[in-house]
């Protein structure tokens, strides 16, 4: 196992409010790390700092090349699914169009959306768009893949498919870091969970252990809220 991500003491302030207050986070190849926390705990911001989309005030981030899948996918709306996937390989990496399309189709097939290759983003369902977004991120072969709330746009049946697919990706030699508030999904698929509260890591370790017997009040509150939410649904 090699270390795809090593972040130490990451701090970020917005105005006088500390969003991240010294976060350490690492991920090894083969891992699927889940970042959990209440809204505003800093988990999405942490992903964006790792991706280089947000500046940081202090701390160090050493990360391999990063791919990212956004909660709202952000596919390029004017391009069909396969063109979304081939754009970066052809334009950034200089891969030939033929090779890029072959690989893109392979990725889309792998993720179960090969039949939607010619569809425009607006014609895709939430789950399909997410898979295309994953394929787009994978097309440039990043050793580290970040996913922001990947289960948010999925129905329960699709969640398992996604979980399997993510584990498969981790096994094939990548490190994955995702944010999630879905403790069932994290318990079933994540290899490690990191709980953030108020911009600090308060608890981390094996998902089964942490989510079954949470120690920190923030983790307990998080799980209670999740259960209440599911109860309402």
């Amino acid at each position: 196992m090699s270390r795809a991500l090593d972040a130490k003491g990451v701090r970020l302030k917005r105005g006088s409010r500390g969003i991240l207050r010294g976060v350490d986070l690492h991920a090894e190849t083969g891992e699927l790390v889940a970042l959990m926390g209440l809204s505003g705990s800093g988990k999405t911001t942490m992903l964006r700092v790792i991706a280089g989309l947000e500046p940081r005030d202090a701390g160090e981030v050493s990360a391999a090349k990063v791919g990212m899948v956004f909660q709202f996918h952000y596919l390029f709306e004017h391009l069909c699914a396969i063109d979304n996937v081939t754009l970066a390989p052809t334009q950034v990496l200089g891969v030939s169009m033929i090779d890029a399309r072959r690989r893109a189709l392979q990725l889309l097939d792998q993720l179960g959306v090969g039949h939607r290759a010619q569809a425009l983003p607006r014609e895709l369902s939430g789950g399909e768009a997410q898979r295309v977004a994953i394929a787009r991120a994978l097309a440039v072969d990043p050793p580290l893949l970040l996913l922001d709330e990947p289960t948010a746009s999925l129905d329960p049946a699709r969640r398992n498919d996604l979980g399997e697919a993510l584990l498969q990706l981790a096994k094939s030699g990548r490190a994955l870091v995702m944010t999630s508030h879905d403790d069932d999904f994290v318990r079933d698929f994540a290899t490690r969970v990191v709980v953030l509260a108020n911009g600090e890591v308060v608890e981390q370790g094996d998902p089964q252990r942490i989510l079954s017997s949470p120690q920190h009040p923030a983790t307990k509150e998080l799980l209670q809220l999740e259960r209440a939410r599911r109860g309402v649904q």
């Binding site: 956004f70 390029f76 991120a137």
Partner: protein, 488 residues
Amino acid sequence: MRTRLYLLVLLALAAAAPLGAQQILRWGGDAEGGAPFVEADPRDPSKLVGFDVEIAELIAGKLGRTPQFLQVQFTSLDQSAKRGDFEIGLSGIEDIPARRQSLAASIPYYEFREVLTVRDGDRGRYRSLADLKGKRVATLGGTMAYDLLLDAERTHGITAVSYDDDVHPYSDLVLGRVDGVVLDNVLADRAMRRNTGLFTHPDALAVGHYIVITAPENTALRDQVDRILRDAMKDGTLETIFRKWNVWNDDQLRLYERAANPQEQTASTAAPSTGELVARYVPSLFRAALITLVLSFAAMALAVALGVLIATGRVYGDRFSRLLLTIYVEVMRGTPVLLQLFVIYYGLASVIRLPAFIAALLGLGLNYAAYESEIYRSALEAVPRGQLDAARILGFTRMQTLRLVRAPQAFRLALAPMTNDFVALLKDSSLVSMLTVVELTKQTQIFATNIGSWVIPGLLCALLYLAMSLPLGYLARRLEERWRMPTI
């Protein structure tokens, strides 16, 4: 409190009193025409002076009425008289058959010669219109001189250039934008005093007369005006007025003799029928529509190209360039395009002498670039930030992101407002007639002046504009449907 109210009522009555006491004679003219016809008194701009002012006062006086001036643009005087905006009109109005046909016209009160003015250095070379083959010759639109030049286009191969005023033909002659000016001797004399380096050939290219016009049904007033003019010719009042304004010459004596014997007056030539006139003008309307179309397309292309640069600069540029571009956009949007056209064509003439069409293209293009840039800027900003983040993580440079992700989507968003702007530009292009470009609206105006009615020219003009703008709207709707963006 109460006394103050009384005072107000009294004041109002006092102000209204003169209106009731003596009837007003509304007379129309164009003060922009300037001296010696009608102009604002340089010593007191609220007063008007000029020989036409004095003749109007003379007529009003003889009718026992108070003259009241109404400012009407020269080319609109006929229509305004017909509508009854004023009772008599005089402002160097020429005696032409179409006018006699559509209005009640007085006897001529002044005889003028159409004369050719050239630059001093060309006086030996350009002695007549025939010498000006292939050259541009300017005049005031909607006048006898313009018709004269249109004939010369056919017979001598000159290019007639029409202006909306009589100042700029001569200043453009000095600048070399045109090589000759044909106007009446009164205007030519005035121009000679104002400009140096010009020479006016004394021989008349044609002879014409100034008349007083009234609404066509108001022949009674016209007959009264005729009587007053004849009397003023006999008793020397007119001569005094014309001498005062330095426009008296022996031509007038012969005119007065003829006026005294009205039977000789019927020697006017038969005017061509409306049908003939329409047939004569339709091809020129089509030519003018083509100019409108070419000008609009070229100006829009310039506006789009510049607009893209401005919008990109405002979205991506540093603070300084953003500030500069914002100032440009606000200045262009905040001042009238007409003013901008004048500045580019006339204002910059001492620095760079742009041909009229190029100046028109630049003026419209630079102005519309400001509007286009705003459309593109908001379209660029409407593309979700998340897509830009996604592109950045995928490794695109800013330029690649703009070219491959942001601009293509922004273009689809900008399409509908762009089409609206293009239709607006098509119509705004009529403003460039101020720079002597005869486009569709200008040609229609010339047409209307010459046949003395707006009905047919107006209808044809509207149809031509619609024929140009409707397909564009249709095309834009089709493209928009095809590229419809999801609600983001």
